[in-house]
């Protein structure tokens, strides 16, 4: 309970965001929209960490630090993913995920 907001409300919001991100990851065909769904999943996990930290362990800061590292790793991963996407676009001139079905031999 954080000043009137119970812990389960935070967890339910982050669960819904997580599974909306999973639905987007499964349904979308454009590579960049798949990346956006991955960012949704990572953000939902961040909300979870922060809510647990504030409500169950208010004297510690571990949840916040883990969230900082998750944000840093997400930034690094998004930049490398976009570099790969740009490279793919230069070769195939489209970024539809169903057209990329050949590995380089």
């Amino acid at each position: 309970m954080f000043e009137g907001v119970p812990l389960t409300w935070f967890l339910i919001v982050s669960t819904i965001m997580f599974f909306v991100g999973i639905y987007g990851f499964l349904v979308r065909k454009n590579l960049i929209t798949i990346l956006m769904s991955i960012e949704l999943i990572l953000n939902s996990v961040n909300i979870n960490f922060v809510a647990f930290n504030k409500i169950l362990y208010p004297n510690h800061l571990e949840g916040m630090f883990f969230t900082v590292f998750v944000i840093a790793v997400a930034a690094a991963e998004a930049s490398v993913a976009i570099a790969i996407i740009i490279n793919i676009y230069r070769r195939l001139v489209n970024i539809d995920v169903e057209k990329m079905n050949e590995m380089k031999y």
Binding site: V20, I32, L35, K54, M64, I71, A76, A83
Partner: protein, 169 residues
């Protein structure tokens, strides 16, 4: 409804509605804008929980870095005005069923679990405590992950530059 509950309801409504719009929109720039709203509302949740430093990091890196990067890559790689192709409705139905099934299982587990509440006094989350913890090597220190993250960011920077460079063919 207290003020905190009202704030939480507004932020979480924004988060849920705009995340659903992100994954179902047919225009890619609108999906990026809705993602920006989701990230800003998440930063609002962090501000509500009194994690000011983390909310500033979220706004700077996510809303100001990653979304801008995504918009750049959209402009560089796809035809912006065209509508996105969608998958067949059968695949969408299977994905909705899978996601809803997972969500229901998780929510039932969360609501049925008894979280151990300790009634302790709230700790300090100001920047001096954060700074001391981030660079200390003691029990709750984070000096090692800090250095490892620096190496990871360096590797990501070098890798992204080499991957996206124009080659002289």
């Amino acid at each position: 409804m207290t003020n905190n509950q009202l704030m939480f309801t507004i932020f979480s409504a924004v988060i849920i509605i705009f995340s659903i719009l992100t994954v179902t929109s047919r225009r890619i720039l609108r999906a990026a804008t809705f993602l920006l709203f989701v990230l800003v509302a998440t930063a609002g949740l962090y501000f509500m929980l009194r994690f000011n430093f983390l909310a500033a990091i979220q706004l700077t890196l996510y809303a100001g870095g990653i979304v801008v990067l995504i918009i750049f890559s959209i402009l560089l790689t796809s035809q912006v005005g065209q509508k996105l192709e969608t998958t067949t409705w059968k695949k969408k139905l299977v994905a909705v069923i899978a996601a809803a099934f997972g969500a229901v299982i998780c929510i039932i587990t969360i609501l049925g679990h008894n979280f151990p509440m300790e009634v302790t006094s709230p700790g300090r989350t100001d920047i001096s405590v954060i700074g001391q913890n981030l660079l200390s090597t003691g029990k709750y220190g984070y000096a090692l992950p800090f250095e490892v993250i620096s190496i990871l960011l360096l590797a990501a920077m070098v890798g992204a530059i080499i991957l996206a460079k124009k080659r002289k063919d």
